[in-house]
Symmetry: C2
Subunit: 109 residues, 2 copies
DNA sequence: TTGCTATATCGTAATATTGCAATCAAATAT
DNA sequence: ATATTTGATTGCAATATTACGATATAGCAA
């Protein structure tokens, strides 16, 4: 039904899924990589970089902001976006925990 | 439009997004964690563990299989699923690269 | 064979996501 | 004040995802 029955999973599982979903889109990955590469506040040039409409970029930015991965500060007419190191680090740690919890050298079947 | 314009991203970005999307669902996270915890081949008991219908579980398993994260071997009447260590390791490395590419102590805005 | 068990697949309904044009809101410039 | 610029929001249309009942398929048992 396109609806996820989140009530049957643990809070951690839901949080992890939400986190991953935020990053699970090429446009949002591209945005994050651009912000990282620029290593400084990048404002509207994202619209020029990716080939998407301004409204679409704005929407992706909002999604990234809603999970806390990026933050935006108004700077006159434009807005300055950058990675939030704290949340970024938390993501990193959580993913490490998930993927590090499996230590299997060989498939068992 | 619900359609991702994948032609405007790099192959890596698309691959990363596909990878992440496969894991970005609590049911699939739960399945993976169950497979990890059991550390052995787990067959149909997944249907009992999660509160989802058999058809739904089967669908999630197929998605995980389609990205290679798990593999299934037919074992008589039942099918035995387990993590594919090789693909798992690749995922881990890719995510490490993505999240490790940002080394910022402080937000710039 | 017939029946039983375990999974996969099909079809479908409900909901979510993606993308954009149009529009709005706010700051600045003329 | 008016125009311009930048970004957010709204309102769609197209497509994707999630979930499940029903049905298929395949192995095994009696």
């Amino acid at each position: 039904m396109g609806i996820t029955k989140s009530e049957m999973y643990t809070a951690k599982q839901n949080a992890l899924a939400t986190m991953l979903k935020a990053v699970a889109h090429p446009a949002r990955i591209a945005i994050l990589q651009h912000l990282i590469k620029a290593n400084a506040c990048i404002c509207g040039d994202l619209v020029g970089e990716l080939g998407l409409a301004q409204a679409t970029i704005s929407q992706h930015l909002r999604e990234l902001k809603s999970v806390g991965l990026i933050q935006g500060t108004v700077e006159g007419t434009s807005v300055c976006y950058c990675i939030d190191p704290k949340v970024w680090g938390r993501f990193q740690k959580e993913l490490d925990a998930l993927f590090g919890s499996y230590k299997g050298g060989t498939a068992c079947c």
